[in-house]
């Protein structure tokens, strides 16, 4: 691999299984007075799925795009962010991921497959092109790889499908094709931005099965972005909960779900209509997410938090409350710090 200026350090990390480590990503868009992503750190281990969960606008996609180096350079300004992929280190405030890693070492799939599939080209040519770009070889070899990938993602009649155009496929099949294309070059990291949000539940279940199987088979590390806590429970090994451009809680998925600490995590979980607790009133998260310009200083959840005090005007650190389980709240665990009377 070419060692361009982007690679600033090759010293080994202690976390051998960490395939991707992002430290302190901060970025804003031109004309904005506040950071849309404010100090996000994430770690993905080999063979694991990290879910990033949060409501629309909290910065999930922007974080993923920043990782991939896909943000428009004219309008997005990254002021901090260190990315380690395997043994390569990048200072995102200076350099983006080099082209030869994008789509090769790190691949990404999107909510709407048509954003990465070109309607004018046959499926086989599109996957083949991705293979040729990074692996070289002959066109015939690339097409053979494309067919192999279609088979692998569970598409029936792959040799026939190779010759079809994206519009001839259903939504679920397009998503499979996109996964086939993303995985054609055996990436060590897959970033999936809401890959099942537009799909029906029965199709979603099929795609989640597929991602799980591929993870087990290839040992790739996966960042899965979703707004659905159910999907997190289904597929994640660990989870990072985002609010207003910050990670407010993260940890192993069982720990976070069984022992949630941040008022926002608790609110999200309480607000979700549950199959096992029907009827009655749902607990809510009051109000709405402020715009980026109106985000409060300190804890950004402060304007909606029932437990906020003036202390919360200073930013709480994301600190471990148990092994590997971190939360950013001045008053965690709540039961030790607050009481509520009727």
């Amino acid at each position: 691999m070419d060692t361009s200026g982007a690679v600033i350090d090759r010293t080994d990390q202690s976390g051998l299984d960490d395939v991707l480590v992002l430290k302190d990503l901060v970025l804003r868009f031109r004309g904005q007075e506040n950071d849309v992503v404010d100090g996000v750190s994430l770690t993905v281990r080999k063979g694991e799925v990290l879910c990033v969960v949060g409501e629309s606008g909290c910065g999930k996609s922007v974080t993923a795009m920043a990782l991939m180096g896909l943000l428009p350079k004219e309008s997005a300004r990254i002021s901090s962010g260190n990315l380690t992929i395997g043994v390569d280190h990048f200072d995102l405030s200076k350099d983006a991921l080099p082209n030869e890693m994008r789509g090769n070492t790190v691949a990404m799939i999107f909510q709407e497959p048509m954003t990465s599939l070109n309607p004018a080209f046959r499926i086989g040519d599109q996957i083949g092109e991705a293979v040729l770009r990074h692996r070289g070889g002959t066109r015939a070899e690339a097409l053979a790889r494309a067919e192999e990938m279609l088979t692998r993602v569970g598409i029936a009649n792959p040799s026939q499908r190779l010759h079809e155009y994206p519009h001839q496929l259903s939504g679920g099949m397009r998503q499979r094709v996109m996964i086939a294309m993303a995985l054609a070059n055996d990436p060590s990291i897959l970033i999936a931005d809401e890959p099942t949000t537009a799909l029906d539940v029965t199709i979603q279940a099929q795609i989640l099965d597929l991602i799980r199987d591929l993870r087990d088979e290839t040992g790739m590390g996966t960042i899965m972005i979703t707004h659905d806590l159910g999907v997190v429970a289904e597929i994640a090994d660990s989870v990072a909960v985002m609010y207003g451009g910050q990670v407010v809680e993260q940890g192993p998925v069982a720990e976070v779900f069984n022992n949630p600490q941040h008022p926002y995590t608790i609110g999200l979980m309480s607000a979700m209509p549950r199959l096992d607790q029907p009827g009655g009133r749902l607990a809510i998260v009051p109000g709405t997410v402020p715009t980026i310009a109106n985000m409060p200083e300190g804890c950004r959840f402060r304007s909606r938090c029932a437990f906020a005090t003036p202390t919360c005007a200073s930013r709480p650190a994301l600190a471990d409350i148990a092994d590997g389980h971190a939360v950013a709240c001045h008053y965690a665990p709540l039961e030790d710090h607050v009481a509520v009377s009727a």
Binding site: G230, N259, A306, E335
Partner: protein, 369 residues
């Protein structure tokens, strides 16, 4: 009881592209194909199914925004397909609609006051300007907005607030029944919960009948009294929501329930168990329309159409030839294994967000490592 029924569909069919002439050359889309259902006064009735199965078309038929190809729709005991003039105006007042997309369903150039007041001009033309303003203020308050909001425009509001505006608008004519086509699907969980609570409060306080179309099975479980499951233009199962969820009798219902990703369940419980996708409604399979995906399909299913008929009880109906011999029990999500401390935290959260007084035992954060 017969007069319990406020809205009824009797063998309603809607085929698109069926009109002869030029159109007849494109395949007929059998969007709704023989749906019968009864909505009872005061209940919340849900319709669930995958994208393209005909939910929105059915909603539009029920509202008389579409004319059925055959079959009839009855509202308050009267067939509504021929309704015209003053009777139609009254019907429009009695039956209202909430749209899925709060962003495109409100005219951006109208103030909130105008948007909510507009139906009043039609349905209560005798009100004076002042009376109308008062009524708008009352409606805004009812949906959790403030009367001062009347002078503002839709773009100044968030998605959840816009959905509240849509609800206020639907309530303005004093309807007996409101049909919501995915009324909370476009909203984030935290805001969705607020709107679900609001709809629940309104149906209780105003004695409204609600028909809710949704694809989120959690939302339906939470909101509805009875549910109808649609597949490819037909109802495959219907009944009291609690019963259908606990004892689904149709293989498709079972598959839907088993596909829901949920907190607490183990991933193994939710492995995809139906393969493939819903066929096109312009070429539906013969016999049982689900047979191409049904793990239990037999020869008979490919030729004979199963009829929706009483299964577990008179009220719990299913359209499957073999429902009584199949093991279709659904692995409902287990509860999460929360610690006592976590339970305490959830209780604190609920108490605090429902108006409790919060006191801090400590003034400063204890240092953690």
């Amino acid at each position: 009881m017969k007069n319990d029924v406020i809205l009824e569909a009797v063998d309603v069919v809607k085929h698109f592209g069926d009109g002869g002439g030029w159109l007849s050359r494109s395949p007929v889309v059998q969007a709704v194909d023989g749906v019968s259902l009864q909505v009872r006064r005061g209940e919340t009735f849900a319709i669930v199914g995958e994208s393209g199965c005909g939910k929105s078309t059915l909603a539009r038929l029920l509202l008389r925004l579409l004319t059925p190809t055959s079959g009839k729709v009855m509202f308050d005991g009267h067939e509504i397909s021929g309704t015209k003039g003053a009777a139609l105006k009254k019907l429009r007042g009695d039956m209202q609609f909430i749209f899925q997309d709060p962003f495109s369903s409100l005219n951006p150039r109208m103030t909130i006051g105008k948007l909510v007041g507009e139906p009043l001009e039609v349905h209560a033309p005798d009100l004076s300007a002042q009376e109308r303003r008062d009524k708008v203020a009352e409606l805004l308050r009812k949906v959790g907005l403030r009367p001062e909001h009347a002078g503002r425009y839709p773009h100044e509001f968030s998605g959840g607030q816009r959905q509240r505006i849509g609800i206020a608008r639907a309530l303005a004519s004093g309807p007996k029944l409101v049909i919501g086509d995915e009324p909370v699907s476009a909203l984030d969980v935290s805001v969705q919960a607020q709107v679900i609570n609001l709809l629940g409060d309104l149906s209780r306080d105003l004695g409204l009948t609600l028909v809710i179309i949704a694809h989120d099975l959690g939302v339906i479980r939470h909101m509805s009294d009875r549910v109808a499951v649609m597949y490819l233009g037909r109802i495959v199962e219907s009944g009291p929501t609690a019963e259908v969820y606990a004892k689904p009798r149709h293989p498709y219902t079972q598959a839907l329930l088993a596909s829901i990703p949920s907190m607490g369940g183990k991933p193994e419980d939710h492995k995809a168990n139906v393969l493939g996708e819903m066929p096109s409604p312009s070429a539906p399979p013969p016999g049982c329309r689900f047979h191409t995906r049904c793990p239990f399909a037999q020869a008979k299913c490919k030729t004979d159409t199963p009829v929706l008929s009483a299964a577990e009880s008179d009220d719990h109906r299913v359209a499957c030839h073999f429902w009584d011999t199949l093991d279709t029990s659904a692995p409902l999500a287990a509860t999460t294994q929360q610690s006592k401390a976590a339970e305490a935290r959830f209780a604190l959260y609920r108490a605090a967000t429902e108006g409790g007084t919060v006191t801090h035992k400590t003034q400063q954060t204890t240092e953690r490592t």
